[in-house]
Every structure is written in C-alpha cells, then in structure tokens.
Symmetry: C2
Subunit: 424 residues, 2 copies
C-alpha cells in the first residue's frame, strides 16, 4: 500500500514520523505495510526530517504515479491544493486532507468527483485537530439526526478571550503576547475576524446536515471589537464570552452563524479554555454529546490524518463499499440572519442626566424588545457620562437592528459600546 | 439481515422503535433491510411496544435460529445473560450487548471465544450510554496510545454530588429525592458504593490498554461517606468532589482506582453536572480528548447498540476482516494500591486546645508528608472541639495510611472526619 504526501511542513513531517514510528501497529491493523513513496515540497534544499530521496518538487510525480493509491494533502491554502486534489480524485486516488479552505470552498465539487470515480475524500484533520469530530458525526450520528452544533474551533481566539478574562488584560496586549508565543500568526486576521471559524463551521454543518453550506452564507463576526469592559461585565453577570460557531437545522431550514457569544458558566462550553477546542452536538436521540481536546498541533493533526488513511486504505485493500457517505448531498435553505432569535447584551455610554434610561427603554419597547436586567454604575472615568449595560429577553435580530439604529440617533448617546448575543 | 434481541424491556423496546423508525436510513447504509426476527422476554403477557408475534420466552428460538446472524443482549444481569451470549458466540453469531456486568466479569473469556469462532462481540452501550466511548478508543486511538483515563461514568452518584453541592443538602436527603425522581434505584447500593463505576472502569481500561483488568483488582470507594461539610470545604477551597474512575498505564504497570476525588474548578471534569457522564482520555499523541454526554437512557443506549449493530452487520455482509480488535489481548500488571501517589484532604475533629495542630503535623512530618494548607475555623457547633482541615502535597498512599493510623490513636482526636484524594 503506497501513498504520497503533498506537503512536508509541520504536519507532513509529523505524519512521516508517526507512520514510521507506528510501523508495526499499522501492519497489524492493515495486514500489510503502509509505505510513503514521495513527499511534495517547494524547496528541496530545506532541512527536514524526511530524507532527500523521498522529496520531489514536481506534483505530477505523485498525482500520476500508478503505484500510489492514496494521496495526503497537507500543503494548506486554496490553490494549488484544490487543483491537485481534483486531479488526484480524477486519477481515482483516495484523498485525505487537513485543508479547511479547500473543503469549505470546494467540498461539494470534490465529493461529486469522488463519488463519480468511486473513491473518497476524507477531511477529519481539517477541523478540531486530534478530536475525532467528523468520525463521530459520520458514525455515531449515522442513524441519528444532528439538530444543533455549538462549537469553539479556533484556538487563537479562545486563547485571547481566556487570557483577557483571567488576567483582565486588553485585547491588543494579549494578542501581541499570543503572537510572541506562537499562538497567533504574524497576520492574525483570519482567526480574529472569525474566518477560520466560519470555514470550519461550513465543513461541520455541511457534513452533519448532509448538505452544502458555503462559507459566504454564514453570518460572521470576529472578536476584534470585544473589549475588556465587556468581559468584565460578562464575568459579573455570570457569563463568559466565547467565539462560537453555531448552527441549527429545524423544519428544513438551517441557521448558521459565527460571533462572540455570552454563555452562562453552567454551559459545558464555558470551561473550554486556552487553545482547546470543543464541539457540542445536539442530536435527536443521543441527546447532547460534547467532544473536547487539542484543536491543533502537528501530532494531533497527524493522528487525525492517520485515522482517515487507515480507514481509506482498509476500503481500498478489501474493496468494500464505504457504509456512510452523506456529505454534500442535498441542497440547503439558509435562514436569513435577521430572523435570528436570541437574547442580547448591549453596552453604551450615555449622557449622565435624568430620563436617559427611559428614552432607551422606550425604543426597545416600541420594537417589542423586553429588558431582563440593567446595570448602570457610578463612574468618574468619563466626565458627565454614564455607562449603561442592558440585557434583553429573546427577540429577533431584525427588531434589535432597528432599535439600535434608533438608539444611535439619540442625542443622549455619547458613545456606542457593543452588542453581544447571549445563548444558553 | 436478520437479528434477534434478548430482552424487551426499556432498552429493548427503544431499540425496536428506532430500528423501525429509521428503516430507510438503515437500508441506505447497509444496502439491505435489517429485520428483527424475535425478541426474548420472561413474561409474554406484559404490555409492550413489540407485537406479540415477535415475542418468545424460549432463548433457544433465537440462539439456535440459523437465519439469525447477530444477537443483541439487553436483558441485564450476569446470568443467564452470560451463558446465552457464550452460546450465541459458539453458534458463530455476532453479539452486541449493553451489559456491563457480563463484559466486566467475562470480557476476556467471551472475546477469546469470539476470536476463535471468527465473530465479534461489541459493547459500546455498556459504558456511557449514547457517548461513543469505545468507538473513540478503538478507532481514534488505534495508532495512538491511551496513557490515562479519568471518567465520571455513574449518573446517580454524580447527580447526588451535584445536588449536595448546588443546594447544600445532606447526602441522605438528596438520595431519597433522587430515588423519588427515578435517578437512583430503590436499592442504590451498586451505584453509591462505586460498584457500577468499577465495572465500567474495568471495561474501559481493559479495552484501552489491550489487557484484562478484573473488577476485583480495582481499588474502590463509594460516595456513602461524603458529607455536606466536605463538599462545603471543597467549594471554599476551589474544588468539586466527583466520583472518579481513574486509570493510568506507564512502564508496563496499570494503576486503577475508583473513589471520590477533589478536582479543581479548572479541570474540564469539574463542570460535568447532574446525570451527565464524561471521560477524559490522555493519549500519547492526540493529547487530551474529552467526551461528554448522556450516560444512560433507553434511546441514547439504543443508538449505541445500533452503531455496533451496523458495524457488525457491515462486517457480516461484506465479510471483511475487522481492522481493530485489541481487547483483552495481553496480561496486565496492576500497581498495588498503597503505591498510589497523590495529594490528600483530611478532615477531623480535635480537642480545642493548644498544641493540637503540632501533634498532627509531627505525625505527618515523620511520615514524610508535607502540608500545603490548613483550615481551622472557630466554631460553636461542638463544645470544646475544633474542626481541622488539612491539605497535603503529593505523597504515597502507604505513608498516608500509616499517618492516619497514628493520628487515630492520638488522645486529642475527638472524631475522625474524612480522607479524600485530590487530583488535578
Ligand atoms: N500546523 C498545525 O497545527 C495544523 C493543524 C490543523 C490543520 N493544519 C493544516 O495542515 C496543513 C499544513 O499545515 P502545516 O502547518 O504543515 O503547513 P507548513 O508547515 O507551512 O507546510 C506546508 C508544506 O507544503 C509545501 N508547499 C506549500 N505550497 C506548495 C506548493 N505550491 N508546491 C509544493 N509544495 C508546497 C511546503 O513546502 P516547503 O517546506 O518547501 O515550503 C511545506 O512543506 C494546512 O492546511 C493547515 O491548515 C495544520
Ligand atoms: N435503561 C437504561 O437507561 C440503560 C442504559 C445503559 C445500559 N443499560 C443496560 O441495558 C440492559 C437492559 O436494561 P433495561 O433498562 O432495558 O432493563 P429492563 O427494562 O429490566 O429489561 C430487561 C428485559 O430482559 C428480559 N429478561 C430479563 N431476564 C430474563 C430472562 N432470564 N429470560 C428472559 N428474558 C429476560 C425482561 O423480560 P420481561 O419484560 O418479561 O421482564 C425484559 O424484557 C442492562 O444490561 C442495563 O444495564 C440500560
């Protein structure tokens, strides 16, 4: 059983190591040895764990090699990874990938090609590092129905929010530290703005609901506007702020969104700290199942790849039909984001004068939004200004947007603070 | 594909329902229909969801039926379930069971028979209800190595401890309420004394470490001696008390134990409340993976059974070799319980007079146990007595047992309170 690997970076090298270290174990499982024939890299002269003989900078040497029946893609980025995977599938090779961009953007196309050619594309490693998310959805939920997904799938943002909360430090400061420690990239915008989380939610939801959800259909907010004040208020009120990936599937309609969310301390997701990831699946019959673990790292990711590789090679060796392959089957109907129905936290600075709260309460009331609690603190921080925090009961996003537009026109508004959704 | 079910109680009926409701889904997955031919019960006249035509009170009608290739056992109890399963395997039938007693006590024997006969016995439903624990250990960890298991696998005791902590109520009172609500059995001793947890830990550890661990080899303490005072002190110190199933595998030696444990709030297991179950697997390469969900209930359990049924029928239909079956392979070496090395919480009542703490500290010191903190509160509750709480640094169980023996002989000791292990 010969395989090729596209990419010999962090993950590619961890996979190389693991396959060599676990040689006997793999032989026991498969009944024959698993051999890496070639690894694609850009720079042949770079120092790495993989011996030079096994390296190539020509993708065709792997994609069109007749001896290779499975290709692992760990290059990253949309192109040329997408094109290479497509070619490999068309050559009737099984593909295993860790590439969230490619799956989120082209999962449906690639699955169609795989089905037509009688092969498969597996992508456990694209979400949640070493946590077996896809496997659990695919197998444990095969005869169940996933109704909701609640997930923390970006280690960088979770690390930042955790640090801000634990050490009461500012976003910018914590971000700089995270960059220094290697928990955030030099250009952290994909993580901070929620794009990485959006890609992962597109993959998980498409897979769990047997449909195609495009990243651009997902309402997305990042954590860039979360201030320490919000985190402090949340703490005071018994909540934590997490960047959540949320999706729900009811009555044929899918609600799907990524945004900072206030969750109560009683939620099992509230104790997911630092770079850890977790996903809560709400299924019709199994009820809630939560999976938690290290969401990244070369070795956990290599383990996820290896699980997929073993499953695929087993399929190849014994030419059995794979018994579940529901991904990207049906069209989806996405619920418009202004129909989101949830609770809200609002923070704003107003003129410190009588009747201010009444004006704001009036606008909320006119928009059928009812207030569940209010905090107004004496402060000497800003002369003549008062900071107001309002928690609402459940309401529609549409009503809330309208109310906020109106509040923003009030002469008593000094400074807009923030709007954070609250979920239980 | 015809199957037989031994047992038509809560779980048996939920399985019957599910297989009928999900008929089409199952057909899609297997490529042919799954048909329940017969269900074994004791009392043919009892009212149940299963039509009378499908019932029998003669086990041989199922076990020796040539058309039936898979048998599901959901009768419960050690005998006659164990004997029936054995006969079924000897008849070369695949077996799927929810029976923790049978697997914990006879797992090795049954696996040996299954291997000899070229069939398999699956038992996902025996631990953790609808949480895919066994599947995750089997597949995600196939090429990894599980080094530690930390689990909350008994809903009854977790419910009681949670209620005591949240509502500051006594053990007895909460237990009675749990019985009334159906969260505890009329005879709750198997749960309360930790026996149910012990069975489950024997199963999980045998499976994860590819060995045989007998329940009687597991050091076990129940929650019957946990008082509200301990829970209050734990809370004050930033801990929760949970009945943990713990096992570790290092240097060829297995440490395995069940007891109430103080865990810090930062531990992801500390937020597992009520009847929920969770298991934390510490693996060599994947790192920590935690699985959490509903640990019981007829429908979650039926889903776990169905996953096993589908996997087994797939194996039968396509006669592929199953690609992992490591359970009960190697002999095990169990670490003696007096070599446990951990931190301790001690609570005791002493005479309220000078020099008392010094006497106790002296004994601890002589046994090489160092104190990490002490709480002594003024109390008017018991005339002339003071309550002392001591937290130690890590030490050996052997040293601690010796120290306690000596402390119990001190004339200044008024009343022994409790000893609880602290883990992080
Ligand atoms: N690192 C993690 O913890 C982690 C976790 C989960 C998922 N992932 C995913 O795993 C994938 C790989 O990540 P990584 O951290 O291993 O990345 P990396 O260290 O940057 O490695 C990328 C590898 O691909 C090669 N490569 C890139 N573009 C190429 C091209 N056009 N032609 C030929 N070779 C090319 C690079 O060659 P050179 O070495 O010659 O530059 C390098 O060997 C990404 O999709 C990532 O999102 C990573
Ligand atoms: N209930 C749960 O939530 C749950 C969760 C996880 C695991 N489990 C496990 O699943 C198994 C079944 O639990 P359950 O709650 O369904 O139990 P149950 O309601 O008591 O059902 C037991 C069934 O087996 C039949 N039975 C028992 N002994 C028999 C015998 N000697 N001969 C013929 N039939 C016999 C009974 O027949 P009659 O109906 O005629 O009495 C009944 O139909 C147990 O191993 C349990 O530990 C249960």
């Amino acid at each position: 059983m010969k395989i090729g690997i596209l990419g010999g970076g962090q993950v590619g090298q961890a996979l190389w190591d693991t396959i060599h270290m676990e040689k006997e174990n793999i032989l026991n499982i498969l009944g024959e040895p698993l051999e890496i024939k070639k690894v694609l890299v850009r720079d042949l002269s770079k120092k790495r764990d993989i011996p030079k003989d096994f390296l190539t900078n020509n993708p065709d040497e792997i994609i069109y090699d007749k001896e290779i029946s499975l290709i692992v893609e760990v290059m990253g980025g949309e192109e040329p990874a997408h094109t290479y995977i497509k070619r490999a599938l068309e050559e009737k090779k099984f593909v295993v990938t860790a590439n969230k961009e490619v799956i989120a953007l082209h999962g449906d196309e690639l699955h169609k090609i795989a089905r037509k050619k009688g092969v498969d594309i597996a992508f456990e490693a694209s979400v949640g590092g070493g946590i077996p998310l896809i496997k659990t959805i695919k197998e444990a939920m095969a005869v169940d129905k996933v109704k909701e997904i609640w997930a923390i799938v970006n280690g960088t943002t979770n690390y930042i929010l955790t640090k801000m909360e634990e050490e009461l430090r500012d976003f910018e400061e914590v971000l700089r530290e995270a960059q220094k420690l290697g928990y955030a990239e030099p250009d952290p915008s994909k993580d901070i703005l929620g794009l990485d989380t959006k890609f992962k939610l597109a993959i998980l939801s498409s897979f769990a609901y047997h449909t195609t959800i495009k990243p651009e259909e997902i309402y997305t907010e990042g954590i860039e506007k979360i201030s320490l004040r919000d985190i402090q208020y949340a703490k005071e009120l018994g909540y934590k702020i997490k960047l959540l990936a949320i999706s729900k599937f009811y009555n044929g309609e899918i609600e799907v969104r990524v945004h900072p969310t206030m969750i109560p301390l009683s939620s099992p997701l509230s104790s997911v700290n630092g770079v850890y990831n977790a996903i809560l699946l709400r299924a019709e019959k199994r009820g809630d199942v939560l999976l938690y673990g290290e969401g990244a790292g070369p070795y956990p990711t290599a383990m996820a790849l290896l699980s997929d590789i073993l499953e695929a090679t087993h399929t190849i060796l014994y030419s059995v039909p794979r018994y579940y392959s529901f991904a990207y089957l049906y069209p989806s109907k996405i619920k418009p984001s202004d129909e989101i129905y949830t609770r809200y936290y609002i923070r704003l600075w107003v003129k410190d004068q009588p009747g201010v709260l009444a004006q704001i309460a009036k606008i909320l009331g006119e928009n059928h939004i009812s207030i569940s609690s209010v905090i107004q603190k004496e402060t000497s921080e800003k002369e003549g200004k008062a900071e107001l925090v309002i928690l609402t009961h459940k309401t529609y996003e549409k009503s809330m947007s309208k109310a906020i537009e109106e509040i923003k026109l009030l002469p008593i508004l000094e400074e807009w603070g923030s709007l954070i959704r609250i979920e239980v």
